[in-house]
């Protein structure tokens, strides 16, 4: 009798069953497809560090498989009244209709997908840099008057750059410059000195919106995902800085500088390096928006 009842139940409620199955499998598979496309189209680097991308790809593939399995459905066994699961079965509204909780879960899970579809080009910029705050210490002291270019050159270390670097402009990454300000070396152990002429790419941000002349060429350093992004940058010193628009990507060339070693406590934070700007041009955003 129970077998007959099950057979009838399956047949009678089949159209209802598919509603639950379709919604569950659709949301899981949609996430899987989204993750795979994100990786294959190169968009994943806008959200997470490249080191984790393979994990996202594997997760995406698995979710597509899981979505397909949910779509195909599964055999729901008949539960006897003395089955330990029977009480739970009865407490649930139905094993065929999606309950309010399940529907809510499915809707909630689609929200990030909708958000990405609606705001596709989201990236951290000047606003986020201001909100997150530069994690390196402010070299000329928070709230003090901006240092004019001619005064700033007096802060440079007196040692001249080595002859092989004189006259040469070295293209450095923001990470290298910030590292150099603390250690006077690149991470590849090449020497950099205050006074060297370098070029670097970053976007325009302002630590304090009330001081439009104080501009920092900024990049975000991402360790794991954008949630842990930290702004790093070089303060730009020179005329005309107030006219630069926030979020504009620029390539700046000039002499770099940083405070003398004995003028700050490194345990309180890295100093913010500065640059006496000699050349500035607008440039397209780099392929990698963030530094990893």
């Amino acid at each position: 009798m129970s077998l007959e009842r099950d057979a009838v139940l399956e047949r009678e409620l089949e159209p209802v069953i598919s509603m639950k199955r379709v919604l569950s499998s659709a949301v899981v598979a949609a996430w899987g497809v989204f993750l795979i496309l994100l990786v294959l189209r190169g968009g994943a680097r806008r959200y997470i560090s490249p080191g984790y991308i393979w994990l996202v790809l594997v997760a995406g593939a698995l979710m597509v498989v899981i979505g397909a399995v949910l779509w195909a459905g599964r055999k729901v066994p008949h539960l006897d009244a003395d089955s330990p699961w029977h009480e739970m079965e009865c407490r649930c509204r139905s094993r065929y209709l999606p309950g309010a909780g399940e529907l809510a879960a499915i809707v909630i899970l689609t929200i990030p997908l909708v958000a990405v579809a609606v705001v596709p080009a989201g990236q951290l910029g000047a606003f986020a840099a201001q909100q997150k705050g530069l994690t390196v210490a402010d070299s000329d002291g928070a709230g003090s008057a901006p240092v004019p270019p001619d005064e700033s050159s007096a802060d440079l270390l007196p040692s001249p750059p080595p002859p092989e670097l004189q006259g040469a402009t070295r293209a450095l990454s923001m990470r290298e410059i910030v590292y150099a300000a603390a250690f006077e070396r690149t991470e590849q152990d090449e020497q950099i000195r205050a006074g060297d002429t370098v070029s670097v790419i970053g976007f325009v941000s302002r630590p304090d919106p009330r001081r439009p002349e104080k501009v920092v060429a900024t990049r975000f350093l991402v360790t794991c995902c954008v949630a842990d992004a930290m702004p790093i940058g070089v303060e730009l010193r020179g005329a005309g800085m107030a006219g630069l628009k926030d979020d504009m990507w620029i390539k700046v060339t000039g002499q770099i500088g940083w405070p003398a070693r004995d003028s700050y406590d490194i345990t309180k934070g890295f100093p913010t390096p500065w640059m006496t700007v000699e050349g500035l041009e607008e440039t397209p955003a780099p392929d990698d928006i963030y530094v990893y």
Partner: protein
Amino acid sequence: METAQLTPEIGESQASPAQVLWPRLTAIGALIVAVIATGWVMSLRDSTVAQTFVVIFVSIVIQALPFLLLGIILATLVQRFMNESTIARVARLRAPGRYAIAAVAGVGVPACECGSVPIARSLADKGLQPGVAVTHMLAAPIINPLVLASTYIAFKGTGMGWQMTLARSGFGVAIAIVAGVLVEKFAPESLRPQDCDSHEEHLHGARSMLSAIGTDLISLGKFLVIGAAAAALIQTLLPRGFLLTIGSNFVIATATMMLLAVILSLCSSSDAFVAASLRQFTPASQLSFMLLGPMVDLKLVPLYSGVFSRRVVAIIVGTAVGGTILSAIAMAAVTG
């Protein structure tokens, strides 16, 4: 004819009119909310605030989802393949032994904090005392090899690589054990009733396992999304720069770092790099950031509440906060 007799019976036992109507009304309501929300977001699509929120929100979900999936897969494997007598042997051990084993077993779990939540539920389902499962859940994200290595590498440059790694794992395990003991003592009814489909986990075969994984992913994924949204909202609207300028005094620095850990909701495999970069903070307050973050943050608390009772969640939060403060004081006494 037989069908005609059976159908009303089935209709009564499976779905009354109200039971059929309610999900449909909910679906329509959810759809209306989704349409309104989409329209609202559309109107904000060019706003910097909305773009910043979306990118942080989605990045937290994308980063945590693979780990949640990994945790659910491991949990399902535990459910299906782990010998109940092995768990029973651990469960029968005297109190210090079973907590110590549960905590140290975290070394073998390559999952971050999101993944350890379903594993803990699975262990509790298999007969491990929920308190012991909580100890495992809290300890695993702090002492797994990935996290230990990243902590050492992050602090190597400051000359405190070993001290930080040892302090983090030692204090982390201690807090996890205390929380587990408290859960066992004060929250005997600690597991939340399971979702409707979870009974299918007892079925065999790869297909039913994948199906159960999918159901769990939907069930726990919603908590991850809610938590990520809360973390992204606060990150977008609260100027962190302000918090970072007040970090010199021990009490304020520790409180600030604990608050940041909760708000940022970082993965435990990466939080050490962020802590190490905040050099204006003392080692003790950096430690507090790395201890509290993997146990309590805006994405974890909703996840916990999907699995455990409110009382258990309260015990976990209370113990983690209290334990972190005591650990920071001990660290400050040593490092000055």
